[in-house]
Amino acid sequence: MTTAQDNDAGDGGGPFTHWVKSAIDNPGKVHRAMFYVALIFFMFTTLFPIYWLVVLALTPNDLIVNMGPIPRGFNISVFVEMWNTVPLHLYMFNSFVIAIATTVYVLLVSSLAGYAFGRLEFRGKGGLLLLLLIISFFPPAAFILPLFKLFTGNVVLFGLHSPDLFNTVGAIIVPFSGLFLPLSVFILTTFYSQIPDGLEDAARVEGTTRIGALFRVIMPLSAPGLSTAGILTFIAVYNEFFFSFLMTTGQPENGAPLVWGILAFQSQYTSLYNYMAAASLIGILPVALIVVVAQEKIVSGLTAGAVKE
């Protein structure tokens, strides 16, 4: 009696179409197996270069030549020795401070903007979104000179000197807050706009302000988006080098971040690749931990059971 023809094959498409289709289509064991093949493939491609970094760290610097895929030698002591030259922990601490301050600030400000863009109707929305991005259109080199002047107190506006942030963490936090804001605004705009209106309505009727609803309802329910914006901003800032290398003279006490520490193993001609690799690995570790913690928030079904519609 049923006329519904089952058509598992779906409609055709290019090779990619077929590929994705099969990668996610796992009704049976065959597909499960394909899923694991894809999983292993991606694990291999993403982790292999990291493994290569480990190989580089473990191989004594002068043996880094004609390498094979396994370490030549097993010089685990680099992880200790490198501290003799470079106080990596201090650089990491700076990076942490910078990254956390920037991330918190960016999330806060972009939440307000994301709310406005994602949930309110106003004229000029598209234009303002474009304007927000405008700075991202320019290669940083294009405005580095004026920006440097601005943040070293060389610009006078209405009789006020711009702040001199040279050799402070602020010199990275401030411009990076500006540069990374657009990404977060866009991510949060997307996520905030998807929270059912009904929930905000309910919160507002219960007596919150719109801002209150943003913090109490919309943000918790956008946890995946919020933590993604957070992770992306945090990591990008943690690894930032472009500004820090102009805005500081590079000492940990002057707010120089991690990459300075890694690059300290490089000099005019020589690069202590093994130390650099080891320092990178150490530097990545805390980020990995943060990511593990933050991505706990990337869970599905946060709005399940919320509205009937």
């Binding site: 030549v65 004609n66 200790v80 440097f148 070293t152 290398f245 102009l246 690059l263 001609y269 020589t270």
Partner: protein, 457 residues
């Protein structure tokens, strides 16, 4: 894990004047070395009221250049002393962003610099009109390092190699022979990646030894831009390309020259200093062209030690046969660093004292002994003290030969662009599949250099 900064947190006391030197001698060294450096300056006559703080700079010269450009454009007061690569000091001078030393130092000191320091180094720190803007900290000139043990086993006598440059043909023969005899992976390793080093140095050297030049004689090195001849498409330069093509692709190469070939791997076209050094250090090459820093590494006991030999670069044509002044014979590109003064510094008096101390024989010897940085004055260079220095001391003759045949790069306002154009043109001309003959490639390069000259006045 304590960290190196913990063991001696010596700081300037409140009544001392702190002079900050950015990068350069002593930078990126441990705090202990920095203390020694201060002691060395003090014992070289610097007032104990002056405390020199060495600030570590970024490791690569490009990054340093970017910082200086930004800082000096914004008129920062610190640091007081900038250490600048001899390859890009002049543009800062021309833009008036660094302090003229003739205004700062007494005339005596100025003439000491002009007369007693390596001439080419001084030129790299002076305006085209000869005004002095910087004090050379240390010079750099590449040499050929070789496996003395293998070469001698193969039956060659290396006596006199340090002072007597050989011809490229002989060099190629020996390399090919030793390589064959020892079944070693590489013969001659050098740097031919498409990067600044190829233009300023490796190619410049080959070209010069074949009697070629970018802009004619040495008198045109620093200008006047757009009014000097472009000579890169003449014989010497083309011969240089042909020679290196043979080295890499064999004597049968369609664009090669009649010289023993196949002594260099094609990989050199992607190599810079470190990548080319590694195989040599690891014993996989016979010959290697590099800066003195690598002599210190390779000559160390745990590496090649006494097996290392050093000689000046071979020549293509004799000096006498060369058309342009300062070409032909052996040649070594000049590198090195200069101290220049921040015109906005608030401590110029103290800076003067520091510069003087850094110029002293005592201090330059200290930096040679402790840090392996060559003395900037021939007098010190040739002194017995210098010869007694471990490792480097063994190769003073070769370094001396190289030093007295050093050719500076032609730094003008046009150079940053020209350098890039040269590097990529030469690298391309050396590629196996190059579609142009060396002559065509150099003609093209010449017209490009000309165009750049035109747009750089």
């Amino acid at each position: 894990i304590g960290g190196g900064s913990g063991d001696k947190p010596e700081k300037a006391s409140s009544d001392q004047t702190v002079v900050r030197q950015y990068a350069g001698v002593g930078a990126n060294e441990s705090p202990g070395i920095k203390d020694q450096l201060r002691e060395a300056l003090w014992s070289a006559g610097l007032s104990e009221d002056i405390y020199v703080e060495i600030v570590d700079g970024p490791s690569t010269t490009d990054q340093l250049l970017n910082q200086y450009r930004t800082w000096l454009s914004a008129g920062r007061e610190e640091p007081d002393i900038f250490t600048m690569d001899s390859g890009w000091t002049i543009p800062f001078i021309q833009r008036g962003q660094v302090q003229s030393l003739e205004e700062l130092l007494d005339s005596n000191t100025v003439s000491t610099v002009k007369n007693d320091f390596f001439e080419a180094s001084v030129a790299s720190a002076s305006a085209p009109d000869g005004t002095l803007y910087g004090v050379p900290e240390f010079p750099d000139f590449p040499t050929i390092q070789y496996r003395k043990d293998l070469v001698e086993d193969a039956g060659y006598d290396t006596e006199g190699w340090q002072t007597e440059p050989m011809s490229w043909t002989r060099f190629a023969e020996i390399t090919a022979d030793v390589k064959a005899q020892n079944d070693i992976q590489y013969g001659y390793t050098f740097q031919a990646d498409s990067y600044g080093g190829l233009a300023c140095c490796d190619f410049n050297e080959w070209m010069t030894t074949w009697g070629g030049a970018y802009f004619g004689g040495t008198e045109n090195l620093f200008g006047p831009v757009n009014e000097r001849p472009i000579t890169v498409n003449e014989g010497g330069a083309v011969d240089a390309i042909k020679m290196v093509r043979s080295f890499i692709h064999g004597e049968d190469d369609k664009y090669g020259m009649d010289i023993p070939g196949n002594i260099a791997p094609a990989a050199t076209l992607g190599w810079t200093e470190e990548t080319s050094r590694k195989p040599f250090t690891n014993g996989n090459a016979v010959m290697h062209r590099n800066w003195p820093y690598s002599i210190a590494i390779n000559g160390a006991e745990e590496e090649l030690g006494e097996k290392l030999g050093v000689m000046p670069l071979p020549y293509g044509v004799k000096e006498s046969e060369a058309e342009y002044t300062g070409t032909g014979g052996t040649a070594s590109a000049l590198g090195g660093w200069n101290s220049v003064v921040n015109p906005n510094s608030q401590k110029k008096d103290a800076v003067v004292e520091v510069l003087k101390a850094k110029m002293s024989k005592e201090f330059t010897l200290w930096q040679f002994e402790t840090l392996g940085l060559l003395p900037p004055k021939p007098e010190v260079f040739n002194s017995d003290e210098a010869r007694n220095v471990d490792v480097m001391g063994r190769y003073m003759d070769a370094l001396q030969t190289a030093g007295s045949n050093a050719i500076p790069r032609p730094v003008t306002t046009a150079w940053p662009d020209q350098s890039g154009a040269i590097a990529s043109a030469v690298n391309k001309a050396l590629q196996k599949g190059s579609s142009e003959s060396p002559q065509q490639a150099m003609d093209k390069l010449a017209s490009k250099l000309k165009e750049i000259e035109e747009q750089s006045v």
